[in-house]
């Protein structure tokens, strides 16, 4: 269930992965497996909490350049439907407590596909600042256009002989 996607703030990654849903589900829900793919090497990920039910915490730490583990993601599961869907958000922490720094809600979905599994991640971002900017400057076609138009304006100005 995705209501009115926002092209400036949402992104969707979808991929047919040649593995059954159960294998992908396990890679996602087994903390030791999750740690092996969540962050790019050489950084290391450690799952300190993964409580797979609505309201449960998803807490990870990261070690970069061989340093100490530091807090990375502090999220809350919103839906965990076995083999089908995982929804989590960083707008809440474990136990549905409002987060200090809300950032994303992600919907991970798994569907059967003749070649394996149709895997999709839909990620919705929070960003009030750019939306406000967009309204104030009076442009109407989205953030990308705002930047383009403003950049053009600035460039034109720069090209004008002094």
């Amino acid at each position: 269930m995705i209501r009115s996607p926002n092209p400036d703030l949402d992104l969707t990654i979808s991929r047919v992965i040649k593995a059954p849903r159960s294998t992908i589900w396990n890679a996602w829900t087994d903390p030791r497996s999750f740690e092996q793919w969540w962050v790019p090497a050489p950084a290391k990920c450690k799952v300190t909490e993964m409580e797979l039910s609505p309201g449960g915490a998803l807490l990870t730490e990261i070690s970069e350049n061989g340093g100490d583990f530091a807090p990375h993601m502090n999220a809350c599961f919103l839906a965990v439907d076995a083999l089908e869907r995982i929804v989590f958000t960083t707008c809440l922490t474990g136990g549905w407590r409002p987060a200090e720094q809300p950032f994303i809600t992600a919907i991970i979905s798994l569907k059967d596909h003749p070649d394996g599994t149709d895997y999709a991640a839909h990620v919705m971002h929070k960003s009030n600042a750019d939306r406000n900017m967009h309204i104030d400057l009076g442009f109407s076609d989205g953030w990308g256009t705002v930047i383009e138009q403003l950049a053009k304006l600035v460039e034109k100005r720069a090209q004008r002989p002094a």
Binding site: D8, L9, L11, I13, R15, I17, K18, A19, T23, I24, N26, A27, W28, S33, Q36, W37, W38, P40, Y119, A121, V123, H125, S127, N128, A129, D130, N132, M133, D136, L137, W143, G144, I147, L150, A151, L153, V154, E155, R157
Partner: protein, 109 residues
């Protein structure tokens, strides 16, 4: 330049109005301050904030300080969603590799 500051600079209507004005060309501080019912020191705080976060450059010529918009900062904001996409693409690549390897191991058992 941390993205938090870049966005925070945009989170204020005065600062956005200043950027909107500077999008049409350089302007002096007094010219920029004119539309705002605000004491100059308060207005200068906004100017400094924009300058610290790389949205504008200021230059003093004689007694007049002129502000110019920095266009590279707009590119940084534009690159932001692309960066988020790269993070999730990478994550999906690694998940794919991981589960494909798991399957190979299971088969060879």
């Amino acid at each position: 330049m941390p993205l938090d500051g870049i966005f925070q600079a945009l989170a204020d209507p005065t600062r956005r109005a200043v950027l909107g004005r500077l999008g049409t060309g350089p302007a002096s501080i007094s010219e920029l301050a004119k539309p705002f019912d605000m004491a100059l020191p308060s207005f200068m705080k906004h100017i400094h904030f924009l300058e610290e976060n790389g949205w504008i450059r200021t230059q003093k010529l004689g007694r007049v300080r002129t502000c110019v918009i920095e266009r590279k900062q707009f590119a940084a904001v534009e690159a932001w969603l692309a960066e988020q996409r790269a993070v999730w693409e990478g994550r999906t690549d690694r998940l794919e590799r991981f589960v494909t390897n798991v399957q190979k191991e299971e088969r060879s058992k």
